[in-house]
Each structure stands twice: as structure tokens, then as C-alpha cells.
């Protein structure tokens, strides 16, 4: 049963993310990305990481919805995104890097055969229970740092995007240039 679920999820995720990467239509790319994120939470549920599966659903539905909104703002969904074709150098780089990663991934389990579990939490407890237990004891400081980082990112996002939201930056500069040239002409 677990195997069937894994193979179904794996094939669907791979296909959807391939669409995301290769599709020329922005709407198709975004939709398949969202569907792939939801299916990855399925993989987490199969692995018994219930809490992370739920967090994946919540976080990525939020993040992807934000991307969705921006995509709708910037692209015409009926038109294709114009992009240049990759050069031969790109293809060489891609194939080389893929080969290296494949070798590392296949050799890593052999190296890590005698790894022992260190952080196990209460045996027999639910997954969210043990996650909370470990998160608020051993990983309390990283947790707080992550909270501060999210706050910093939020403020940075507001500052970057919201600054002079009522006036377009490019337009205001163009106006200044126009005014300057008009002054010159008057002289």
C-alpha cells in the first residue's frame, strides 16, 4: 500500500514539476507547481511525518498563492513567456552537475550506513507530539532565530515593495528627467 502511494506520488510530482520547468505558459507553470507542492505533502504523510505534511500544505499554499498573484500581475496568461534557448554551455553544465549529484546520492547511503539515531523524542508518541517536544527543547534557539528571520523578511518585503507605492519609481524618475530637459529648453 505504501509502495503504491509512493509510486503514484513520485510519478505525479515529477511530471508536474517538469511541466513547471519546461512550460512556456506562466499559468500552467504556476498551477503545476501548486499541485506538485500538495503532492509532496502526500510523500511526507507516507513517510509518517504528519506534522511536516500539514505544515507543507499550509506554508506552500500561502507562498504559492502569493506567487500566483504576482504571476497574474506580471504576465498575460494567454501569451507565452518569451525566453531564449539555452546554449551548448548550459547543456554541458547541466549534464555534468546532474551526474555529480547522482553519484553523491547513490554513494551517500553506503557512507551513512552506521549512523545512529540521536534525537528520538518520547517513544510511542504521535509525530506532532515528538516534533514539538524536540523543537522546544533541543532546537529552541534555532526556532527563535527563525522567528526573527521571518520578521526581518516581512519588514524587508514591506519596505522593498511598499516604498512609494503611490508613485511609480520609474515614472517619477522619468518626470524628473522630463522637467530637467524642459528647464534646459526654456533657457
Amino acid at each position: 500500500m505504501e509502495a503504491i502511494a509512493f509510486y503514484v506520488f513520485a510519478v505525479l510530482i515529477t511530471a508536474l514539476f517538469l511541466v513547471t520547468v519546461f512550460s512556456k505558459n506562466a499559468l500552467y507553470a504556476m498551477s503545476s507547481l501548486a499541485a506538485g507542492m500538495v503532492l509532496i505533502s502526500g510523500i511526507f504523510f507516507v513517510l509518517g511525518a504528519d506534522f511536516l505534511g500539514a505544515v507543507q500544505l499550509v506554508v506552500y499554499s500561502g507562498a504559492v498563492m502569493a506567487l500566483y498573484a504576482f504571476g497574474m500581475m506580471f504576465f498575460d496568461a494567454t501569451k507565452d513567456v518569451k525566453e531564449k534557448n539555452p546554449s551548448a554551455k548550459t547543456i554541458f553544465l547541466l549534464s555534468g552537475a546532474s551526474a555529480v549529484i547522482l553519484v553523491v546520492i547513490f554513494s551517500a547511503p553506503q557512507i551513512g550506513r552506521n549512523i545512529k539515531a540521536l534525537v528520538t523524542g518520547t517513544p510511542g508518541a504521535d509525530n506532532p507530539h515528538v516534533i514539538g517536544e524536540v523543537l522546544f527543547t533541543k532546537y529552541l534557539i534555532p526556532f527563535e532565530v527563525a522567528a526573527v528571520m521571518l520578521l526581518v523578511a516581512m519588514i524587508a518585503g514591506i519596505i522593498l515593495a511598499g516604498k512609494k507605492m503611490d508613485v511609480s519609481l520609474s515614472e517619477s524618475e522619468d518626470d524628473l528627467v522630463d522637467e530637467a530637459s524642459e528647464l534646459k529648453e526654456q533657457k
Binding site: A3, A10, I13, T14, F17, T20, V21, A26, A29, L33, M37, I40, I43, F44, L47, A49, F51, L52, V55, V59, Y60, A63, V64, A66, L67, G71, F74, F75, V81, K82, E83, T90, L94, I101, I105, A108, P109, I115, K116, A117, L118, V119, T120, G121, V130, I131, V134, L135, P142, A146, M149, V152, A153, A156, G157, L160, A161, S168, L169, S170
Partner: protein
């Protein structure tokens, strides 16, 4: 045929390579964000699979922190994306030649 850790790691590497292809191939800034999200998710799959098979919770907690990083990356990245669009009028990466000597 029962599932082993290698199955999950192979899935993870496939997803990571897809994301990397996207990062190198895409010329549009917003499309590049999608590809980075895919790569972060591939790392998450590997971490959760290792955590689940070894029985150590550290992997799951690191996946949680990666999600936090991904969320803040999207927030800052979209802010920068708006600025680039205001300056350049396009999201094409080939137009970003301001720092070219």
C-alpha cells in the same frame, strides 16, 4: 518490492535536478523563483526520508527550518522583483546588466 530509503533519495535527486535545470534554463525572474522552490522541496523530501528511516527527528526539524527560509526568501524575493520591474519594466534576466563593467 518494499520501499527503501534509496527510493526516496532517488525521487529527491530527480526533483533537485529538475529544479536545477529550471534555474539554469529560465530567463524570467518569476519562473526562477518556481525552480528554487522545487529545489528546496527536493531537499526537504531527502531530509524527511532520512529522518523517517533512521528514526531521528533532526531531519524533520531541519525540513521545518528550510520551509521558514523558503517563506522568507519568497517575501524578500518578491519585494526585489517589484523593484526590478519598476526600474526595468521587464523581468527578463538578460536586461539586468547594471553592474556589468
Amino acid at each position: 518490492m518494499s520501499l527503501t530509503l534509496t527510493h526516496y533519495l532517488i525521487l529527491s535527486v530527480i526533483l533537485f535536478v529538475i529544479g536545477m535545470i529550471g534555474v539554469i534554463r529560465r530567463k524570467n525572474l518569476l519562473m526562477l523563483f518556481f525552480a528554487t522552490e522545487i529545489m528546496l522541496n527536493a531537499a526537504n523530501v531527502a531530509l524527511v526520508a532520512l529522518s523517517s528511516y533512521i528514526g531521528d527527528l533532526t531531519g524533520q526539524l531541519f525540513a521545518l527550518f528550510i520551509m521558514a527560509i523558503a517563506a522568507s526568501e519568497v517575501a524578500v524575493g518578491l519585494g526585489l522583483l517589484i523593484l526590478v520591474y519598476k526600474k526595468q519594466g521587464t523581468l527578463d534576466l538578460d536586461n539586468l546588466t547594471l553592474l556589468k563593467g
